[in-house]
């Protein structure tokens, strides 16, 4: 939980400028305060927002602890049983071979860019994806929080928790990609937040994968794993 000390606040409101989710307000006395319902505990105000040392952070209890875990890139909380908040995805695929020829990886990052999301909204997406047959990535911390992975459901106590963004990771056969994207198109008309979507595959499957997506949505850039990684036997 992040709080501002009234006795130390010099009312400059610098912290409000830095807050990515507009959770910092000004009181009648001029001092800043944090709306705890909106705060995602990303830590930006703690690191960059205050020159007078008025902002303090305490470890939040479960389930609020997920806010910092998914919102603050430097947090090392392990309440999910999986360190970090995502996996290496395509970045180490030349070593792990997680995505095999004929397969596609699908990442849906809810709340990004800069809007934030609740777990209730995350579940709106994961339920649709599960319905279309997407298998959620085992090593992703979000998957570990699901109470029913087959249906993409989270415990009710998590639903109101807000985070800056979370990554839903799934892998599926290439021929099933169109079905999952169709479900995402259906949910995007109803959801109150934004989500960034990416797909990845082996270079040799690239044309097949791109034939299955709406080209008008494609951003011009891509992330290319050049293939320099080598697996080594470790003790």
């Amino acid at each position: 939980m992040v709080q501002i000390s009234k006795s130390k606040c010099v009312c400059c409101h610098r912290c409000a400028l830095f807050c990515p989710v507009a959770a910092i307000r000004s009181g009648r006395d001029g001092a800043s305060w944090i709306d705890e319902a909106i705060c995602v505990e990303c830590g930006v105000c703690v690191r960059n927002g205050c020159l007078s040392g008025a902002i303090r952070r305490r470890r939040s209890p479960w389930p609020r602890s997920v806010r910092a875990l998914f919102s603050d890139p430097v947090t090392k909380h392990r309440s999910t049983g999986v360190p970090g908040r995502g996996t290496a995805e395509s970045k180490t695929n030349d070593v792990t071979n997680r995505i095999q020829p004929g397969q596609v990886g699908l990442n849906v990052e809810l709340g990004r860019p800069g809007v934030g999301t609740s777990f209730h909204q995350v579940q709106q997406v994961t339920r649709r994806m599960a319905k279309a047959g997407a298998g959620f990535e085992e090593q992703n911390p979000l998957t570990h929080l699901m109470s029913d992975r087959r249906r993409g459901v989270f415990p009710r106590e998590l639903w109101p928790e807000r985070v800056l963004s979370v990554v839903v990771e799934a892998s599926l056969p290439l021929e099933e990609l169109a079905g999952v994207l169709k479900e995402l198109r259906a949910v995007e008309r109803k959801i109150g937040t934004v989500f960034s979507v990416s797909v990845y595959c082996r270079w040799a499957d690239r044309r097949r994968m791109l034939a299955l997506v709406d080209r008008r949505r494609l951003l011009p850039q891509a992330k290319v794993n050049v293939g320099l990684g080598r697996a080594r036997r470790q003790r």
């Binding site: 409000a16 400028l17 830095f18 807050c19 990515p20 990303c42 930006v44 690191r47 960059n48 890139p73 430097v74 970090g84 995502g86 290496a88 995805e89 395509s90 970045k91 180490t92 695929n93 030349d94 070593v95 792990t96 990442n107 990052e109 990004r112 860019p113 800069g114 809007v115 800056l164 963004s165 990554v167 995402l184 198109r185 109150g192 937040t193 934004v194 989500f195 960034s196 979507v197 990416s198 797909v199 990845y200 595959c201 082996r202 270079w203 997506v213 494609l218 951003l219 011009p220 850039q221 891509a222 992330k223 290319v224 794993n225 050049v226 293939g227 320099l228 990684g229 080598r230 080594r232």
Partner: protein
């Protein structure tokens, strides 16, 4: 997470932006990876990276020139570090750089962004979005970008100084100060707001 992949921007702006990243795979080749990652950073600096960073043993280097990326890939191939290397940017130049540096005729894996879906009315203007998505963790706020633009417009600071300030919250150091300065100057000239 694909935090370098979802950068918004026009094709002509993205022509001068390439992010090279290196990391080890946990439990497979991460033992003794420290010196190799440091070697990666030395190679990146040698070829003029505008920004380098190390977050949780994932190394990033930002380049503004594909020729430099090609040289980095050539040196990495010769160094035989065995770590995974990804390059984010326009696909065709990256593919050519892979071929010319003799890293591979065909890269291994490719990830494409399908952009932002959902309630897009909650997003700021295209140019503000181009600035804030340079921080892959979305830690650069819209008000901070707006204030930077206002400061430049008022003559309080230069676009570059404003861009350096904007880069402060970006903990993984992939915020491209050069490109941000150009975008801020454009916003300040146009007088556009959110």
């Amino acid at each position: 997470m694909s935090h370098t992949l979802h950068r918004e921007g026009r094709r002509r702006d993205l022509r001068g932006e390439f992010i090279v990243m290196s990391m080890a795979a946990k439990g497979i080749n991460d033992a003794g990876a420290g010196p190799k990652l440091r070697r990666f950073l030395r190679i990146a600096r040698k070829h003029g990276a505008v920004s380098v960073s190390d977050v949780k043993s994932v190394m990033h280097a930002v380049f503004t020139d594909i020729g430099a990326v090609e040289s980095v890939l050539r040196d990495l191939r010769r160094a035989r570090l065995g770590l995974s290397v990804t390059v984010t940017g326009l696909v065709a130049p990256i593919h050519r750089a892979c071929c010319r540096s003799e890293v591979a005729e065909e890269p291994h894996t490719v990830a494409h962004s399908l952009g932002v879906w959902g309630n897009r009315r909650r997003l700021p203007s295209e140019t503000v979005l181009s600035v804030m998505t340079m921080c892959g963790h979305s830690l650069v706020s819209v008000p901070l970008v707006e204030q930077a633009v206002a400061s430049v417009r008022a003559g309080v600071c230069s676009p570059r100084a404003a861009a350096v300030k904007l880069a402060e919250p970006c903990v993984c150091g992939i915020f491209n100060v050069d490109r941000a300065a150009r975008l801020i100057a454009r916003l300040a000239r146009s007088g556009k707001r959110r």
